[in-house]
């Protein structure tokens, strides 16, 4: 009986040996490891650029050189398969870090692009998605970054440190899809453009693009993006500059350590309004003049000025969303749905119009909890 069992095992193994077509077996060095891709639209075709991370064979120096592959196709997958015909390599997607979208993709081709990336088992849904501003996405993928060899790795590193700057959102593929398929159908994406620096063109991520139903509605600047992130409670750190505190030449830079935003829908007298409360905990990081804002009086002044300016920034972006984009990028709809499901049922059909002239009450609670390592500004004796 026991020997029979052993024979089973041998039999099982031998059958597998025979069956072995090495279906998914692939050698690591045969892989063309994609680090990022860009999609542009050209008439009725899609232009695909792939950045391949090509490890240089050598005695362990570990240098990685980028190789750019280009192809076209009717659909994204068509273009992807065309790469094989051109280069003979099957691209491996699991380590792709960024997906760059050209502006023209927002003419109704977005779903096609996203669906492939989302559906394919090899691509990962935590890939970053960016919009190329002003240039073709392929040009950005082809630029030369300063520190990293690969554009994708550079962009990846920048997006990962988003919480220190907050000048752009970091959006992963799943977040984009979740946003696009939710009730509001709106999403924001970080914008990347090329700037000239010492004769080189390097990519720079700044601000964001507002997207609704496959359409690119417009752009937000870095400052506006920060305010938007504040409302969405996605701001985790970064700086805010309070200008002209007391005297015109005093700009105080505050570093944000904690930020908590609560958005509360209020229903009074048949009207829906929003109460946005921002609790901030900051530290003074830089003072541009000799004015002492650290002593109690100055501190009071700074707090008041800070509250006013942050409130102004936020109200500005709320206005912009209401009047210019006319869509719910602020995420108010889901708040209403979560907290007042009955009211949401009524307002849901024409939420976007409803939003346009909704009262939004912003209040800022600013707590300055320190001044880093020094207790006074740099005093210059007159």
């Amino acid at each position: 009986m026991k020997s029979v069992k052993l024979l089973y095992l041998v039999f099982l193994l031998s059958v597998i040996c025979l069956l072995c077509g090495c279906w998914n077996y692939r050698e690591i060095e045969r892989l063309a490891i994609a680090s990022g891709l860009s999609l542009d639209s050209l008439e009725d075709k899609i232009v695909l650029n792939i950045e391949i991370a090509n490890p240089a064979s050598g005695q362990g120096e570990g240098t990685v050189k980028p190789v750019l592959l280009k192809s076209e196709g009717k659909t994204v997958f068509d273009a992807v398969r065309e790469i094989i015909a051109k280069s003979g390599m099957k691209v491996y997607w699991s380590h792709a870090k960024v997906l760059l979208l050209g502006e023209e993709m927002f003419n109704g081709k977005l779903i096609g692009a996203l669906d492939w990336a989302f559906r394919d088992a090899e691509t990962r849904e935590d890939m970053w998605v960016l919009v190329a501003k002003g240039r073709k996405a392929s040009e950005i993928l082809g630029s030369k970054p300063e520190l990293e060899e690969l554009v994708s790795f550079q962009l990846d590193a920048t997006l990962r440190s988003q919480r220190f700057i907050s000048r752009f959102p970091s959006v992963e593929l799943w977040k984009l899809i979740d946003d696009m398929t939710s009730r509001e159908n709106t999403a924001i994406l970080p914008a990347v453009r090329l700037i000239d620096e010492k004769g080189k063109t390097v990519p720079l991520i700044e601000g964001c693009a507002v997207i609704k139903k496959q359409k690119l509605l417009g752009w937000l600047t870095a400052e506006e993006t920060k305010a938007l992130l504040w409302i969405r409670d996605e701001l985790k750190g970064g700086l805010t500059i309070i200008e002209k505190v007391g005297s015109p030449d005093t700009n105080v830079t505050l570093e944000i350590f904690e930020s908590k935003t609560t958005v509360k829908p209020v229903f009074e007298e048949g009207r829906l309004s929003m109460a946005v409360t921002i609790k901030l905990s900051v530290e003074i990081a830089e003072i541009s003049s000799s004015m002492d804002v650290i002593k109690p009086d100055g501190m009071k002044l700074l707090t008041a000025e800070g509250k006013k300016q942050i409130k102004r920034d936020i109200e500005k972006v709320v206005k912009k969303a209401q009047k210019e984009f006319k869509c719910d990028i602020l995420g108010f709809g889901s708040k209403v749905k979560a907290e007042m499901p009955d009211i949401w049922r009524e307002v849901e059909p024409d939420w976007d119009e409803y939003l346009q002239d909704m009262e939004v009450e912003v209040s800022v609670d600013l707590e300055i909890r320190g001044s880093a390592t020094t207790s006074k500004p740099i005093m210059i004796e007159d």
């Binding site: 089973y8 998914n24 990962r124 849904e125 749905k337 499901p341």
Partner: protein, 372 residues
Amino acid sequence: MVEVSKETINDKQALIMVTIFIMGSTLIMGVGGVAKQDMWLAIIAAIASAIPVVLMYARILSTYPGKDLYDILQIVFGKVVGKIVCILYAWFAFHLGALVLRNYGEFIKTAALPETPMLVSMLFLGGLALWAVKAGIEVIGRWSEFFIFILIGFILIIGFLSIPLMKPQNLLPVLYEGVVPVLHGTLAALSFPFAETVVFTLVFSSLQTRESPNKVLVYGILLGGLIVVYAALRNVMVLGANYISMLYFPSYHAVSRINVGNFLQRLEISVVVVFTIAGFVKISVCLLAACTGIAKVFSLENHRQIATPIALLMVTLAYIVYKNIMEMMEWAFKYWSSYALPFQVFLPAIILLAVEIKSRRQKTSGKPPAKQ
């Protein structure tokens, strides 16, 4: 060689088997999806409604200690009718096993190895289940007892790591679309996985005491249900109900979001481990039930001898039962409840009735109720 007179498993092993059985494919497939963000409510309701059902199973079993449902059927319904019902139950266990096998095959094909034929992974798992059945329920019990640590360990670690990703507001609003979808979800969750424990009445013939079936089934349901509720809560909080509705295997995606310091990431394999372990137990129990059933129907002494062709047939059935994953989901959604509930609720109710009548009559006529 030492002869083991009769295979016995202790209450703890049995309880663990029930728990793992419930986790089975549920953790991967997700249940009660109709109820959207209220799926956890649906599952809790399903657990609550499953308890009277399993108490019914336990009552049937403990009336005839030392016998499984096949024996009991033949005692209360007589040889001919009893055997017909036996065949039905054997088919149910067989079919259930094949479906779980198919789920597993689809999962591997979709999630990881698209080029590997599905038959290969199903053959592997089927072969292991066959091995387990040949080794006997005692070995399955001991095996489960060991692997529950690994399961719980993985589940706890994953649960801990996904806390930062959870957004409690994803659970709101509660009961937005009313009670009806929740009730639908409850029904679905009752028939898959909780009342599937009916399969255990086919294999638990030798528990320690008369009270064991009660204890084992109820606590097993509660423990397994707890884990299923946890998984549902985690998935909703991490992914959101809207996103889940787009996915075949939500847990897989929920876990893939985990990223701790760029180092602990891409942990999907843990989901695979959990599914393999839990699915293996479920398939083994189903196969064991099917083999015992066939053996009992034909009055064979040893169910192990006929296990091989039944396992082969199970793999074959799993292979041909659906054309593709879309059909599998459709079937699980539309037909499974109405197909399974007769086996899970209606038939056991009739059997319980018959058992009660029979044992009362025996008591009044002065004979002790059937023992051994």
